[in-house]
Symmetry: C2
Subunit: 214 residues, 2 copies
């Protein structure tokens, strides 16, 4: 059996949902690149990655978003704001784009993947718009989870946020016309020394409560 | 700026959705414990962790589940099968249990958190049953994403699976009466040498396609 050294677990214990960021501390571009790569490499159903991430840097846009996020200060104080937006409607290009990427990576013709392509298109076109959105939104949460873990590995603070008005975010970020809807946000940066919640004990159900062995 | 050493990114490139497991290779209990801790430590909305994970070890149960998962071999060949099950209906205990845990961790009286408790109960009781389930299912995907990343760190292979009949899984695993529904599976173990998909290039959209800077 391999020897297990698991800094990741220690880093997961270190992380917390940051309530107050130090607005003076900014991430280096190199760090932002790694966080983006973590999101990019995140698995998704059928490999389709049916989401976009808005990396909102413009201060005025951040200020405009804040009231639509219950006024939470992280929206403007964090070094970076990633708004995860899920695709709202299925169309064949969701699958065609993937197949073209796969074919070119393998040096094959896209038609080699016709069986797979037809299968996935059949599955997805059979979903109602609501089912489709619920499903694309779930995929986003895999990438969100991965972002938070990789952030913790880099000792970068991240606060995930579901408390916001999606319609207003969509309007401000111009998402609707692009076929996406804002799903969840990640505010990213460094904790303020004034954030006393950083020292609160982490509250989790016990492994025994969470798991059932059958 | 800190020096960035990011093995995690390399490990994310290493992982893939394992199509064929080596049925003779089993995880050590110590490894399973770490994966469970990764799930346990995963963030969730309001910290509520409204899911259970069924750690299905019984061979006959695994065999019974296989036909309800399109006959996929990973269900029986993988060392371990985790079935993530989301809570189906809101009740006050969702919040009360958390508040009791938080109060006892802080050496405080649960009544100190009444404001918070009322706020969260108000939010959740205002959801329809469908909204509630869609929301609890999304939370599960954070833990799934985290499991896959921590698995990759340990060079443990994991294949996530959405292709299964949830109702049949619920019946076989006795989930309905417990108030949970099966949401997504993780098959966990070691890749078979015969799994040629392990060598396929990883297909991902470019960072430029996935992100938009505003």
């Amino acid at each position: 059996m391999k020897t297990i050294e698991m800094n990741t677990i220690e880093n997961l214990k270190w992380r917390y949902a940051t309530k107050k960021f130090d607005a003076s501390q900014k991430l280096a571009e190199e760090e932002i690149d790694i966080l983006k790569e973590a999101i990019q490499l995140s698995p998704s159903s059928y490999g389709l990655q049916l989401f976009k991430v808005m990396d909102v840097r413009d201060e005025l846009t951040r200020k405009a978003l804040q009231p639509a996020a219950w006024g939470q200060t992280q929206i403007v104080d964090a070094s970076n704001l990633f708004v995860f937006a899920a695709k709202t409607k299925f169309d064949d290009s969701d699958v065609d784009n993937y197949v073209h990427l796969k074919a070119s990576s393998n040096g094959m013709d896209p038609s080699s993947f016709k069986g797979y392509s037809d299968f996935v298109k059949g599955k997805l076109s059979g979903m109602s718009e609501e089912e489709y959105q619920n499903w694309t939104k779930r995929q986003v949460y895999i990438a969100l989870g991965n972002l938070m873990t990789v952030g913790a590995e880099l000792k970068i603070d991240i606060c995930p946020m579901e408390g916001f008005e999606a319609e207003k975010f969509d309007e401000i970020l111009g998402l609707k016309s692009k076929g996406y809807t804002s799903t969840v946000n990640a505010t990213i940066g460094y904790r303020s020394e004034e954030d006393s919640t950083a020292d609160s004990p982490k509250i989790r159900k016990s492994v025994e409560d969470l798991f059932e062995i059958l």
